[in-house]
């Protein structure tokens, strides 16, 4: 009788250990999954914050394009202003909430610095800091163009790249 009771206890202990082990495994798996999700959300949030900096820069009067087209207003960058600011960057360094600002016009992987022939890249501002994380967002870059005595807004696509300290 005692032996049978011992056997039953043994069986129960084995089951409890097995079930506990199983739930621990599930728990570890779940925690790992949650950790990965949280980490990815954190990185997304960091990126969203950087993109909100990009929107701040885009809306700065020093960069923003003023246009009769209400859609371009507040969305696009003014290429002429960019050219002026990037050549006089030291005067504006206090304005920027970020460590570096670059502008790439179009999608060509080869970057030709401006000013220059067929250039497509402006190093607008650099604080000289190292170890920056860079984020980019698409922008439209506009300028006034005159053709056959008719002036119009010519807008291209580009990428605004900012660097923030890690």
């Amino acid at each position: 009788m005692v032996k049978k009771a011992q056997y039953r206890i043994q069986q129960m202990v084995f089951m409890i250990v097995a079930v506990s082990f199983f739930f621990i495994l599930v728990g570890v798996f779940f925690l790992g999954y949650q950790y990965r999700t949280t980490k990815s959300s954190f990185e997304d949030l960091q990126k969203e914050q950087a993109i909100s900096f990009l929107n701040v820069i885009r809306n700065m009067p020093e960069f923003g394009y003023s246009s009769k087209d209400s859609y371009a207003k507040g969305i696009c960058l003014d290429l002429d202003k960019i050219a002026i600011v990037s050549s006089e960057v030291n005067k504006f360094s206090e304005l920027f909430p970020v460590a570096s600002i670059e502008l790439a016009i179009g999608f060509k992987p080869k970057r030709v610095p401006c000013p220059g022939n067929e250039c497509n890249y402006y190093d607008v501002y650099s604080s000289g800091q190292e170890g920056l994380i860079k984020y980019d967002s698409f922008v439209c870059i506009c300028k006034k163009v005159s053709e056959n005595s008719y002036s119009y807004d010519k807008c291209e696509l580009g990428k605004l790249i900012i660097g923030v300290k890690e």
């Binding site: 990009l54 859609y71 969305i75 967002s137 056959n148 010519k154 696509l157």
Partner: protein
């Protein structure tokens, strides 16, 4: 002896059911997280910028070029690009395809995209141009929706982004 065996079986079945329910709940949570469409300001910026991009199509006179927003309206109205001697819808299709391919080439984590432009001015939803899509959806779905404000035209862009 038979009663004990029955009890054992009931216990085993109970454990199996508990484990299955736990697994099912976990799977449901995972599926819900991965397939829900989310928004991204990066995508919103991209679409807003595309709509302002100046095309080479001038339906009335050169150099009164349409931006993509106006080109969509021109296409919906059946206009032609006079300077290019081309149908505005054909030109719109080509231009958007080129831009989207360039976009994907700069975003390595984008596995799939789909752009749909629809109009609803006659009460029924009509595709202005055939949907532009490429790739196979892997990862999270991110989408943006932009009403153009003219003739009930809507633009919907979805991408799948790998983690």
């Amino acid at each position: 002896m038979r009663k004990i065996a029955q009890q054992e079986i009931v216990g085993f079945v109970l454990i199996v059911i508990i484990v299955m329910v736990a697994g099912l709940v976990f799977l449901l949570i995972s599926a819900k997280n991965s397939k829900a469409e989310s928004q991204s300001s990066d995508l919103d910026n991209f679409i807003s910028s595309i709509l302002i991009y100046t095309s080479d199509c001038a339906p009335i006179f050169t150099p009164n070029y349409d931006n993509i927003r106006d080109l969509i309206v021109s296409c919906n109205e059946g206009s032609k690009c006079k300077n290019l001697n081309k149908d505005s819808c054909e030109y719109l299709n080509e231009t958007l395809k080129m831009i989207l391919e360039d976009y994907v080439s700069t975003r390595n984590d984008v596995s799939y995209y789909k752009l749909e432009i629809t109009s609803n001015n006659t009460g029924e939803i009509k595709q202005i141009i055939p949907p532009l899509e490429s790739g196979k959806c892997v990862g999270n779905i991110i989408g943006t929706y932009e009403p153009l404000g003219k003739e009930e035209i809507n633009l919907r862009f979805r991408i799948c982004k790998e983690d």
